[in-house]
Symmetry: C2
Subunit: 304 residues, 2 copies
Amino acid sequence: MRLVSYHTRDDAGVGVMVDDWRFVALNRAAPELPPTLKGIIEAGALSAAAAAAEGREPDYRFDQVTLDPVIPDPQAIWALALNFKLHIEETGLTTSKDFPQIFMRMPCSQVGHLEPMWCPDRKVAETYDYEGELAVIIGTPGRHIAPNRALRHVAGYACYNEGSVREFQNHNRQFGLGKNFERSGSFGPWMMTADEFGAPPRHTVITRLNGVEKQKSSLEDMLFSVEQVIHYLSTGYLLRAGDVIVMGTPGALKPAPGYQPTPQDSPRIPGRTHMKPGDTCEVEITGLGVLRNPIVADPTPRET
Amino acid sequence: MRLVSYHTRDDAGVGVMVDDWRFVALNRAAPELPPTLKGIIEAGALSAAAAAAEGREPDYRFDQVTLDPVIPDPQAIWALALNFKLHIEETGLTTSKDFPQIFMRMPCSQVGHLEPMWCPDRKVAETYDYEGELAVIIGTPGRHIAPNRALRHVAGYACYNEGSVREFQNHNRQFGLGKNFERSGSFGPWMMTADEFGAPPRHTVITRLNGVEKQKSSLEDMLFSVEQVIHYLSTGYLLRAGDVIVMGTPGALKPAPGYQPTPQDSPRIPGRTHMKPGDTCEVEITGLGVLRNPIVADPTPRET
C-alpha cells in the first residue's frame, strides 16, 4: 500500500493510492480513522486503512491537491551524513567507521511531491545541492532495539531529497542551518508500506536533474544499514511512530567523456551540478516511485 | 512578566507568576486566550495575559503541577556550540570566528523546571554533562532580520540546561544523538518577557551541581550575540513565534586549591564534573531565576 498526506483549500488528510496519480481519501472511506498519517501509524491502523480503500473509486488526482511531506509533523527527522563510500571520497571528509554520523532536519525544511523547493538567493548562497536518499518511517516505538528486530519497527519507506546549502553547511563544524533552509528539502511521493517495499538493500536510489542522471547507487552500498541506525538511535532516544530516518546520499556519477562543465557544475566534484531556479529534480527509488520537484527562487530575498 | 507552561492530571495551560512559587492560570483568568504559550506569543497576546492576571489570586503552586518546558512545542530549537572563549579553549576544538556553530535539539530531549532529567545507564555512556545557557524565545517572525532590529523579534528569555552525552556527541563529526538523549535537557523555570529582562550582556549565567558553582560567566563574553545569531539564522529560515535559540555554555570554573578530584570529575577538564543519579543541577541567570532539576537514572535500560 502507498499512502500520501495532502491538503486542499477546504480539506486535508491521508490518501491511499489507486494508481500513480489518483488516491482514495481516507476521511471519506474511513472517517473513524485518525486524520493524519502519523496518527494512523500510531493507532496501528494501516490494515484498516487498506481495507477501507479496497475497491473504492479515487477521490482525488495529484493535480487537484497540494501534496504535503509524507509525514508533515514528525517528532524527529534524523539524517545521516557520509553513509556511502563514494560520497565520503568525493567530499574529502573523514567519518567514523564505528558510529553513524547523525544530524537533524526540521519539518519546515521540507515540502511534498511536486511542490516547489526554494533555491536561496544568489546573494545568500550559490551552491544549493540535491541529495537523493531513502527515508525510513518508524511504526512501532522502541528503546534499545536489537538490530535483528529493527525492521519490525519500520512502517514504510519513501524518497527524500535532502537539499543542502553547501556554504552554510561548511560555515562551521556543525551543519546547522545549511541543512535547514526554508523549503530546501522534499519527502515523498508517498510512503510505501514495509511489506510491499521489502529489503532496502535490493533497491537502487537515482537522482536526476533536468532528466540527467546525477547519482545512482544500490542501497547495498550504505556503510550503516537501516537496522544498525535504528539500533544506534534507540540506545538514547525513544523512536516514535512517524519518526523519520534519512539514510544518506551516494556520490556523484562521473560525467560522460567530453562533457563540457557549465557554470552550475561543481569545480571540485565532477558530475555534481548545483540546482538553480527553473530546474526540476527527481529522486527515484526503484520499486517505490519518483519524487519530483521544481526548483524556484526563494521568494523572500529581503527583510520581512 | 514571567510565564510558565504546566499540566496536571486534568488541566494544562499557561500561568502568569505571582511570586517565585505561585501562578495565575490563564485558562481561568482569560479563557479567550490561546491555550499554549506559543499560541499566546503568536497571537501577540502577552499584554492581554498580563492584564488578565493583574491583581488575581494565584491558582496553583509549583508543587501542585508538572512544569513543562517553557515552550513545549517549538517549531525549532537552534543551539550554539563553542560560543564562549574559555569553553573553546578547554575543549581544544576549533570554531569559526565568522559564523556561529549551530546544531539542533528536539523538543522531546528537554523537560521543565523541577522535573527529573535522565542520566544514561552506565553501560550506554558515562559522561553526562550540564551546560548552563541563555534561551532566547522568538516573538515576531522574520526573515533577513538586521542585527540592529533583532531584539524587537524576541518575546523573552529563560534558562536552559543543555545536557549533553559526551561519548555520543564525540562518536562522529556531527553531535546528533549526543545532544538529543531522551529527557537529557531542561528549559525553564519560566519565560521572562524581554522588557523585564533587558539587555542580555548585563546578566550572568551560573551553573551549580549539588550547590557547588561549576560554571559562571557574564553573557557579555559570548562570541556571537543574540542579535548576530538572529540575523544569521534568518538569512535562510523564517524565524517563527515560539522558536528557541540556546546561546551556548561557558567554560568550567577551576576547582579551589587543594581540591581532590572524584571519579565523577573529568580527567581532561579541571572543574567539570559529570552528572549522576541523585545529583541536583541548577542553572541560574541573574535577574531571571533558577532552573533546578534532579538527575535520575534513565528508567529504560533494556529493550522495550
